[in-house]
């Protein structure tokens, strides 16, 4: 109980004092997770939309596969990326291992299936309603993809937030490929893991609360933007 109280006090202290070290970790965490989100969205959203509209043999299998990949264990993703990016691996010459770039790639790999699967789910419902109409304009599935993505943009915001949440909360993969290097690849989650292993549980919990506050802030911001945009669109 005392630890919890002291964690709350520390969390407020950390936020209010604007400790530069903590701010740098927060900034890096946001940069990495948002970059990963953009990268994953560029692949995952069109892939999900295409799966929603296209009918081809093996479609069911692809959907099952992508749904299953939502449960990818982060440590496994971390290990795969590690072996690919290691100097002894096929992509070693880029020198990306133990850099923020490696962490962006790892998080993007983790959340791309989530974005694709949820996008497919959301847009399939819309497609059933629209299919007739779009077909009557002579639009095939390929033409329908951008239309669906645009019309479903408010629903897809939640999908993006789910992806962002998973990326920001992830620790196993970024620990392996980033190395938790102080001032260079240390994120909120890896800092929490480090403080836990140093036995400083109140500080670890306080950092966790700061992370929660950030994720909450991002969500609130996204909802706000959505509200304004919705009113604009009439």
């Amino acid at each position: 109980m005392q630890d919890l109280a002291s964690a709350f006090t520390k969390a407020f202290g950390l936020i209010l004092s604007l400790d530069p070290a903590v701010l740098a970790i927060v900034a890096l965490s946001l940069r990495v997770s948002l970059s990963a989100l953009v990268l994953a969205a560029l692949i995952g959203l069109p892939m999900g939309a295409l799966l929603a509209v296209a009918r081809f043999p093996g479609r069911g299998g692809v959907i099952t596969l992508i749904n299953a990949l939502m449960g990818l264990p982060p440590v496994v993703v971390g290990l795969l990326i590690y072996l690919l990016l290691s100097r002894s691996g096929p992509l070693g010459s880029f020198g990306l291992l133990f850099t923020p770039g490696a962490m962006i790639i790892a998080q993007a790999v983790l959340i791309t299936p989530i974005l694709a699967a949820l996008t497919r789910q959301v847009l399939e419902g819309m497609w059933e309603e629209y299919a007739e109409q779009l077909r009557s304009f002579g639009a095939g599935p390929w033409r329908a993809v951008p239309t669906l993505l645009w019309d479903g943009r408010f629903l897809l915001l939640t999908v993006l937030l789910a992806g962002f949440g998973r990326a920001a909360a992830e620790v196993g993969a970024v620990m392996v490929v980033g190395g938790n290097i102080e001032g260079f690849t240390r994120l909120m989650t890896t800092a929490i893991a480090l403080e836990t292993s140093k036995g400083d549980l109140p500080l670890a919990l306080a950092l966790g609360m700061v992370l929660m506050a950030i994720v909450l802030g991002v969500n609130a911001l996204a909802q706000g933007v959505r509200g304004i945009a919705a009113r604009w669109a009439g």
């Binding site: 953009v38 100097r87 133990f98 962006i104 480090l194 292993s197 140093k198 400083d200």
Partner: protein
Amino acid sequence: MVTRIARRGVLPLLLAAVTRPALAQQRSITLASTTSTEQSGLFGHILPIFTRETGIAVRVVALGSGQALDIGRRGDADVVLVHDRAAEERFVAEGFGGPRRHVMFNDFVITGPAADPARIAGLGDAVAALSRIAAARAPFISRGDRSGTHAAELRLWQLAGIDPATGRGQWYREVGQGMGPALNTAAAQGAYVLADRGTWLSFRNRQDQRILIEGDARLFNQYGVMLVNAQRHPHVKAADGQRFIDWLVSPAGQSAIAAYRINGEQLFFPNADKPEPVS
């Protein structure tokens, strides 16, 4: 509007995000080292001094000694600083790096619950203590992660003539994690554990754990440093890495190590200029 922003803004942003660290690079080396040196706060104390003197940043990836050496083998670090002499000598003999220089030492301690069910307090003999723990089947936490501390623990069991694997899953519990998590587990389970003194001193969640065995010569803990072989891995920053090693064993580096204290207690004892004790 969103798509326009996406088209104009996203790709450059993305490229910048992925490549920026590679472009805007300060001179730096990657050091694979152990959790004990990082988590005890030693690096936080000595590395800024080195960076100020040379302009070379040192990026520390902290793992168990075995994993740190593996990172060196794969060429993913420029310098390796660990504490498992046998594994280090193997690393050098296999041509992955070296020569090995010894840097500093401290010692291991055996901690346990205040109740001390195996009655080892005051024995002063680490091997006899392990025998008593095994005889009492008192819970013992093993790192189980090929770290330097894990290797030291296994050597002590061997000296005691005991195969702890027979108690696996019962009183002998391998956590497969770093020193901190092992200490957390020991504190939670009222178990014994072999810890390096540096991590113990900086560890905060002790509950009723205390040092029960210390000062046995067999608890000596030597740290060594090696440059990763640049002939095997051409991208290794050999010049800057060597500069770091030279600094570590120089009077400046050695006195920086000696100056690091927690609550007035010195954690690491520089010994680069002394012949290494034979273990």
